[in-house]
């Protein structure tokens, strides 16, 4: 029936497309209020972490879910963003502006340099080479003895905004992080629906088909890679401010693996799935580690079960079957 009408105006944003993301953001917006009912500082810090991890995972969804590019080195950008804060503030530059510029600029440069090589490969080679670049940066960070080396460094304080400690309060940092996540969500939604996003999605579907109509796969993927890197770099900036501490551990390969897991768990190719995934992942980790000494023994199998039984991710459950 539906097929009988030519879809010149193909499915515009249906209310359903917006319902789940709206509910998610509304819930996140209610967090500071709800936090007052419990251990406020703890709840805010945990939920800021959820928001920041969701931001990084959302940018990874652009690569995996929309571009079919399974990057196993995405935590490198978290590291670049975090070290931009750490290194600059150790030189007395505590202003957020230059720190963010360094986080984004450094991430884009690293994405371009590593992407030029990694994007020449496909499939499992791409996974391995992004992992290798991530490890390269990890070892570079451990070798930065002037900036704490293996041990990392404690930040003098949170970044300043216009010379003022606007980010000092836990609620303030949470709101800023949530605003960034909201902006990233809206921005990435537009990007994935744009001409550029359509090319990226088409390349995931069938690369040769896209080249046979005149698109050079490499260029579009490189731009997507840089864009995703920039967003994750901002997440790194926020993460450093949240933990007040920067160390090579932020960009370990385990972190990259966690990010992949979060997007897959939440549901690939939806963007807001990253929020669900981050919340489920971090809350499960928190709860299990609180009650069980050997919680990792339980966490691992739980992750496996979640992936097996929530095909299409957590977003897919609401839709009945993965879309």
């Amino acid at each position: 029936m539906a097929a009988a009408t030519p879809a010149i105006r193909s499915p515009t944003a249906s209310p359903r497309d917006w319902l789940v993301p709206l509910v998610l953001f509304a819930l996140l917006a209610a967090v500071p209020l709800l936090a007052k009912l419990g251990p406020e500082g703890f709840i805010l810090s945990l939920m800021t972490r959820v928001v920041v991890v969701a931001l990084a995972a959302m940018s990874l969804d652009l690569l995996i879910g929309y571009g079919g590019l399974v990057s196993f080195g995405h935590a490198a950008f978290l590291g670049i963003g975090a070290y931009a804060v750490g290194i600059l503030s150790s030189h007395g530059i505590e202003e957020a502006g230059p720190q963010l510029a360094a986080a984004i600029g450094g991430s884009v440069l690293f994405a371009l340099a590593s992407g030029v090589i990694a994007l020449r490969t496909q499939g499992v080679y791409f996974i391995m080479i992004t992992l290798a670049f991530g490890q390269m940066l990890f070892f570079l960070a451990t070798a930065l003895s002037g900036y704490g080396g293996d041990d990392g460094m404690t930040l003098p304080g949170r970044s300043l905004l216009f010379d003022r400690p606007w980010l000092k309060g836990d609620a303030a940092l949470y709101w800023v992080s949530l605003a960034v996540l909201g902006a990233a969500y809206l921005g990435l939604r537009r990007v994935t629906a744009s001409r550029f996003g359509r090319v990226l999605r088409g390349l995931k579907e069938n690369e040769i088909r896209m080249e046979a109509v005149g698109f050079e796969a490499f260029r579009y993927r490189l731009v997507a890679y840089a864009l995703a890197g920039a967003v994750a770099g901002v997440a790194g900036f926020l993460l450093a401010n949240l933990s007040g501490f920067v160390s090579p551990a932020v960009m370990s390969w385990q972190r990259s693996g966690d990010l992949i897991f979060v997007v897959v768990l939440g549901g690939l190719g939806s963007l807001h799935g990253a929020i669900l995934g981050a919340a489920a992942f971090l809350l499960a980790e928190e709860v299990l580690s609180h009650y069980l000494e050997h919680w990792r023994l339980v966490f691992g199998p739980l992750l496996v079960l979640a992936v097996l039984f929530a095909r299409g991710g957590l977003v897919g459950i609401g839709r009945g079957r993965g879309a």
Binding site: S194, R198, I208, A212, E216
Partner: protein
């Protein structure tokens, strides 16, 4: 004599010890429909890959519109007007029929490094795409994901996609394979209408269609062009009868 639109000079390609195309030279005149026939495994598809840039040639040159394109990528050649279809169907399965064509229109209309406006609602892309679907009688299937189209419809969709790139040379690798009788009649009619408008290199097994449509026919056997000429001459050529039409009878 007019300058050929496509000139192949001594194209060769081997896979290991197997010489799949062997010193193929061929000229395509502007506006002609040139058919290439030959038994299975003769190297026709490999030749299409070499012309379109999907496969690198070991030796030889490809000249398109007077320009040496041998070292250009497939995408670059398409943007110059050299489009192709695939023997093994190649569509974007999760995209609707309309979007499959619209993305090809997009490839030739302005930059695709545009990040904000929704592409699906861009009538500058949708309108020409829908017109092409109409031409193939697929307009009523515009909103259907390509994966759900019938085999014959996918073949037609692929033709629409190739035409959407606005080619001056269209290479079709067995466009009738697997289509129903009605569908293949429809495609033959479309090819007849395209004749003269654009230059076509047609790889096809359906002899009835080939001899009805082609201005000239080349015969490829074991990677070599053994004969080129008008349909009547080719039909009568004893070497062709032995090597190719003979095999058909066997």
């Amino acid at each position: 004599m007019t300058e050929p639109l496509l000139r192949l000079e001594g194209l060769s390609k081997s896979y290991g010890a197997l010489r799949v195309t062997d010193d193929v030279s061929l000229d395509l005149r502007p506006g002609e429909l040139h058919a290439v026939i030959g038994p299975n495994g003769a190297g026709k598809t490999t030749l299409v890959h070499q012309i379109s840039g999907l496969a690198r040639s070991d030796r030889g040159r490809v000249l398109f519109a007077g320009r040496d394109v041998t070292r250009l990528s497939m995408a670059e050649r398409v943007r110059l007007g050299l489009a192709r279809s695939f023997q093994i169907i190649s569509v974007l399965p999760a995209f609707t029929a309309l979007e499959n064509v619209a993305v090809a229109v997009q490839a030739r209309s302005g930059s695709s490094f545009r990040f904000l406006r929704p592409a699906r609602r861009d009538d500058a892309l949708n309108a020409p795409a829908l017109a092409l679907l109409e031409r193939f009688g697929l307009a009523h299937r515009a909103g259907v994901p390509a994966a759900l189209l019938s085999y014959g419809e996918k073949r037609q969709l692929e033709l629409a996609v190739a035409l959407a790139t606005a080619p001056s040379l269209l290479i079709l690798d067995e466009p009738l394979a697997g289509t129903s009788h009605d569908e293949s009649r429809g495609v033959v009619e479309i090819l007849r209408a395209l004749k003269g408008e654009i230059t076509i290199l047609l790889i096809e097994h359906d002899m009835e269609a080939v001899f009805a449509l082609a201005d000239r026919v080349s015969v490829l056997v074991y990677g070599k062009v053994v004969a080129t000429g008008d349909p009547a001459t080719i039909r009568a050529d004893p070497q062709v009868r032995a090597a190719y039409l003979g095999e058909e009878a066997a």
